[in-house]
């Protein structure tokens, strides 16, 4: 019997086995990717809407699962299992709770603000999930909410509270930041972009 094909076959098999032993992206040992939300005990600048009174370095907190379809899928499972569906509708269009698929956010539409609303609860009937869900699960929910298309990217942290949209003009007097953050603590402002679908 010709031995060469056998050797090639066994090499291929062992190579395949070796690859599967590497950490898989899904289901593998999950690292703890969520940065624990930072301490929110900063003083509230005046004139901000409810929920946007946090300092810039908090507001610009990115979603660790930004753009991940897998995380959005898992977030959808949580959305169904935690009964979010009846209050916010199966497609996010709202019911007894406000819609999640439009750009009107009572408590802010930046990722960290949506996270806080889920984590802390809100006065008009939104329950607090911090005891029932891990931070990781809440970020996956945020990712799913982002997939409805109504949230703002974290890079929009200074534009979203001002109602700025893409393709707008800026009068010279309105340019620049209103509140000057402490140098070196915040990433430079980036143009507003929508998260990948």
């Amino acid at each position: 019997m010709n031995a060469r094909p056998m050797y090639l076959l066994s090499v291929m098999i062992s190579a395949a086995l070796a690859c599967t032993a590497c950490g898989k992206s899904q289901g593998g040992a999950q690292a703890e990717p969520s940065p624990a939300p930072q301490d929110h005990s900063f003083s509230t600048p005046l004139g901000q809407r409810a929920g946007t009174g946090d300092s810039p370095e908090v507001l610009s907190t990115p979603n660790p699962y930004e753009g991940s379809k897998e995380a959005a899928r898992e977030g959808q499972q949580i959305y169904l299992a935690m009964n979010c569906t009846t209050c916010h509708a199966y497609d996010g269009s709202g019911n007894q709770g406000p819609p999640l698929n439009d750009t009107r956010w009572r408590y802010g539409g930046l990722p960290i603000q949506v996270f806080n609303s889920i984590h802390d609860g809100r006065p008009q009937g939104m329950p607090s999930w911090k005891d029932k869900l891990t931070d990781d699960q809440i970020w996956k929910l945020v990712t799913y909410v982002e997939s409805f298309g109504g949230t703002f990217p974290a890079s929009d942290w200074q534009h979203a509270p001002q109602g700025d949209v893409e393709n707008e003009n800026e009068a010279p007097e309105a340019q620049g930041q209103f509140m000057t953050p402490v140098p070196g603590t915040v990433p430079p402002p980036a143009p507003a972009t929508k998260p990948p679908r």
Partner: protein, 333 residues
């Protein structure tokens, strides 16, 4: 030649090894399994007989080979080959006919769900655990369990199979054949265990990362024991008797109730298994871990380490709360 010897060995070793193991397809204790293993025995026997026969014929034809060619290359006609063909086809046809009839008979015996099933159990497969619901015409006697199906020995049990997510397959080798569990439809199978005992089951269709850790058990009991078990399952978990178990129940209701049901507490979540009588089960997490205190604590502390990708998240819980929760869960007999 080597191939033949090798394949015989390869066939024989697993068969010999399987006899006497929990998933052994030859250790049949149920009606279905007996039918199927009879069929396996017949087909296996026929196959082995055919192989042996052919091997003998081949060996004899090699032994009695023709002498070296001295005729100068002129082909000689050899008469008398036809009878071999007649005999071969004839015997094969008869044997295959017998096999087919036997096969049809086995299918008939196994596939038809009897109308006189003593009880009906609704099994819903999840990734990666088994939800078990006992239905009763008196809806008040309806209850939920997980990963362990108790049945009365010697009686037919109808099992309704549905899936909450992807395709799984319900297989208790010692009792019956496989039945796929397909989302969007309810498949029906039935089992009957002749003797009381514990029979292991597996998910038999690849269903995701933890497919290998999706075992279940079928526990056959005498009808008397089974009735007692059912009555016990309808009871709520006992109330906490001391400070630790009370703290455990409160912590459980706060952290775990969104996904689990535990009658006797206010927990009524449906995303994960019903834990009302967790301590009555022999394993945790669908056969992943043995059910004892140490493993329970390990599981709650970090389920992702024990069964990566499982639906239960690593809920941050202080060691004190964890100990209290474990103490409370240990009362769920």
């Amino acid at each position: 030649m080597r191939v033949v010897l090798l394949s015989t060995l390869l066939l024989g070793i697993p068969a010999l090894a399987a006899a006497g193991t929990p998933l052994g397809i030859f250790s049949d204790s149920g009606h279905d399994a007996q039918e199927i293993s009879r069929l396996i025995a017949l087909f296996g026997g026929v196959s082995i007989a055919v192989v042996v026969l052919i091997a003998l014929l081949l060996a004899s034809s090699i032994w009695h080979r023709r002498p070296a060619d001295t005729s100068g290359g002129r082909p000689q006609r050899d008469e008398g080959g036809l009878p071999w063909i007649y005999w071969g086809v004839g015997i094969s046809a008869v044997v295959l006919l017998i096999c087919m009839l036997f096969n049809l008979g086995t299918i008939a015996a196994v596939a038809r769900t009897p109308d006189d099933a003593a009880i009906t159990v609704q099994v819903t497969a999840h990734q990666w655990w088994w939800e078990v619901e006992y239905q009763d015409p008196d809806s008040h006697k309806d209850f939920l369990s997980a990963n362990e199906i108790h049945i009365p020995a010697g009686e037919k049990v109808r099992i309704l199979l549905s899936s909450a997510d992807v395709i799984h397959s319900f297989w208790v080798p010692s009792l019956a054949g496989k039945m796929d569990v397909i989302p969007g439809q309810t498949n029906v199978t039935w089992v009957q265990a002749d003797q009381p005992g514990t029979y292991r089951g597996e998910c038999a269709v690849f269903c995701g990362a933890e497919h290998a850790r999706m075992e279940f058990r079928v526990v056959a009991q005498t009808p008397k024991d089974f009735e007692a078990w059912k009555v016990h399952q309808l009871e709520d978990a006992p109330q906490p008797q001391d400070a630790t178990t009370l703290r455990g129940r409160l912590a459980f209701e706060s952290r775990c109730a969104a996904c689990h049901t535990l009658r006797g507490s206010s927990a009524a979540g449906m995303a994960g298994p019903d834990l009302t009588h967790l301590m009555d089960r022999s394993t945790l997490a669908a056969g992943t871990l043995p059910n004892d205190m140490g493993h329970l604590a390990d599981w709650i502390r970090n389920p992702q380490k024990q069964k990566p990708g499982t639906g239960m998240p690593k809920v941050p819980v202080s060691e004190a709360d964890l100990a209290a929760i474990v103490a409370y869960l240990r009362t769920t007999h």
